[in-house]
């Protein structure tokens, strides 16, 4: 997996050198502290759903995430959410 990440970074650095946008993983432009002032609630309206990423190791975990997504949607019907579950 590490090899694939390194290959990806290499490819992207080549792409960036050729003048196309790319954001290297180890040098993000983002600040390292979260904003302290809450943007207007409107900033969260009409945007894409929240994305949660996690991994599932077995059928128990797969079922747990289904239950969790259902429970979250039930508790917060106004918050669109998408659970993105991968292999470990």
């Amino acid at each position: 997996m590490l090899v694939r990440i390194l290959c990806l970074l290499f490819v992207l650095s080549v792409v960036a050198t050729c003048g196309r946008a790319a954001q290297p993983i180890a040098a993000p432009s983002a600040p390292t502290s979260a904003p302290t002032a809450a943007p207007s609630r409107l900033t969260e309206v009409n945007t894409k759903p929240l994305v949660l990423m996690s991994w599932a190791e077995d059928s128990f975990e797969v079922e747990a995430f289904k239950q969790l997504e259902d429970a979250f949607r039930k508790a917060h019907p106004d918050i669109p959410v998408e659970f993105l579950i991968t292999s470990p």
């Binding site: 904003p35 809450a38 190791e57 059928s59 659970f83």
Partner: protein, 390 residues
Amino acid sequence: MKRRTVWTILLATASLFILATRCEYLSQPYFDKLALTLVAGDPPDVAYMDTLRAPEYIHNGLIFPLDAVLDPKELEDFYPILLANFQREGKTYAVPRDFQTVALLINQDLFDKYGLSSPANWKELVKAADLIQTGEREAGHKDFYGIGLTPNMWNWMPFLYQAGGSLLDPTGTKVTLDTKEAEDALTFYTDLRKRGLAFVPESSLSNPEQSWPYGASAEILSAFAQGKVAMILGPNIFYAMLQNPPQGDKPAFKVGIQELPKGPKAQATIGYTVGYGLFDKETAFPGSNAVTLLRFMTGPEAMDIWEKSVTYMPTRRSRAGIWIEQHPEARAFMDGVAHLRSYQPAKASFANIRTFDQKSTVIIARALGGQIEVKEALNQLQKLGDELLQ
């Protein structure tokens, strides 16, 4: 130690073919996918993190501190030793969801047969291994061993801490394997095999690179399940696999779970935790929906779901009793939290941690196999750690 066995991976592969009604499932490995989203500038709002990956993500500023978005009182319910995996310089970057610890799995039937209680210290560990092994061999089980060990760092590290040693100094920036305590621990560990009391998979000694990372662990687990060894060290997932083995080998005896024996200096074990953090600066602000989701995923309602499995111990102190009620036979895993020790480097990349784990296994294998002396092994481990973990 993070670390799950090859059986788990096989299970995971099979389970990913199960389609859910809503969740989107990808066969792509998690950290590959996460890296792609980060490179693309479109990270998930909330994402999973573990003990060994956290240092790299925190050090590189890819995960946002939670101090401005969570009330410190919200974190008071979490075990501090688990939170520490996600904290740096006074800031908290993720909230732990569940954890495992390493305990002693024993063949309870044999301990009862020989009138033994669980070993409370190193001396009793040796005594129990010797007594049961001698008795079983005299009864005709010629290949029986008192204890199963592997050359993996995770298997030896509890002894290191029990001897008063450590992998790293308290700052996580200096490797501390050139100590008398480390020598005591590795001497004790290798002596178990020298005395003929420890089953160490032959392949892990002759070809440790190939058996790394899961081969030797799977072999000792299998040997234990088949009644060929009286004791092994293992995390919660080992016990779960013994209860529901994917490839047979369900034990024909009662499995006992006890806290690891005390060493000459301390009672200690190691563990592994996972948690959730905020990865998207656009949604990482107080009161955001992402914060609501993070709270939910580490809150009591979510833990109620995970606690049904013996593998997932809740990270909230207020939930410990609830987990123990559901898994009373496994409470030693939970009790181990009182003696957890950190082995997490402060800044090392996961690639370096992984390389250290692999190469240290080779060194410990040579020490177990008698190819190098304990002092030489520790010199090599220290040098390796200096190169990779600092």
